[in-house]
Symmetry: C2
Subunit: 152 residues, 2 copies
């Protein structure tokens, strides 16, 4: 597997681990400018800490990156996230015109890309990123499993 790619996902996994330490469901995201290879945002879930149901890692990453770039559209950017995005995040990725989406674990219960409403599979979806799932899938899934096992 491509070294750079797994490296970015590794950074997202570190963010997921940090999220778990704060009592957040361990999901981490990274946005990369594909032209320079530079990371423009690294975030983890903050729903609990911010009392904000929309504060998923992907949403925070998109907001941070758009703010940094000074544009609503992140046309040259790729997003790496440890879990398949939910429908809200999948739609936000489309609105932000993200070029490629790389995700870790698949999410049959709450995912919105390969499961549920399959956000990119509709004619009314105005931008469909290229999607690559299952990147460092086992590690991403293990983090979530450990987190929920400790809370049972």
């Amino acid at each position: 597997m491509d070294f750079e790619l797994t490296n970015y996902m590794e950074t997202a996994l570190h963010s997921a681990e940090s999220a778990a330490k704060r009592g957040e469901v361990p999901v981490g995201a990274v946005i990369v400018d594909s032209k320079t290879g530079r990371i423009v945002a690294t975030t983890g879930n903050q729903m609990v800490g911010r009392h904000d149901p929309t504060a998923h890692a992907e949403m925070l990453a998109i907001r941070a990156a758009a703010n940094m770039v000074g544009s609503q559209r992140l046309v040259d950017c790729d997003l790496y996230v440890t879990l398949e995005p939910c429908p809200m995040c999948a739609s936000a990725i489309s609105l932000a015109r993200i070029r490629r989406l790389y995700f870790g674990a698949y999410d049959p219960k709450s995912g919105g890309v390969e499961f549920g409403p399959r956000i990119y599979d509709h004619a009314t979806c105005h931008h469909k990123p290229e999607v690559y799932g299952g990147i460092r899938e086992e590690r991403a899934a293990a983090l979530l499993k450990e987190f929920f096992a400790e809370r049972r």
Copy 2:
């Protein structure tokens, strides 16, 4: 039609008008605590002003209300918005456990409730609000039409 209901939508329409004056697509939203009848958030689109593709009126309203209530879940709250929510916002409304969704104009091109991915019609949608569309529909649609006509 119920007086209170149209009154809340009237407030959302005022927010949509303010958004237009700032150069934003005119959509406004209001969140009401159904137990007290009190408005807990009033917002308009801010995507342009904030350089944020996720800054739709509904998202800002949910974030503001959750922050005020100090909880991710807005179980007793109803959301009024002048346009049918897009898939991102429809999903966020579900995540926030909003009780009822009242919207104005239908949106065949980008809506996510009655059109496109129909967010609430999937088994993996963990909370489905009661939905009432077409509230003050003509006024809401006229605002959007005027806005885009001026920009052509």
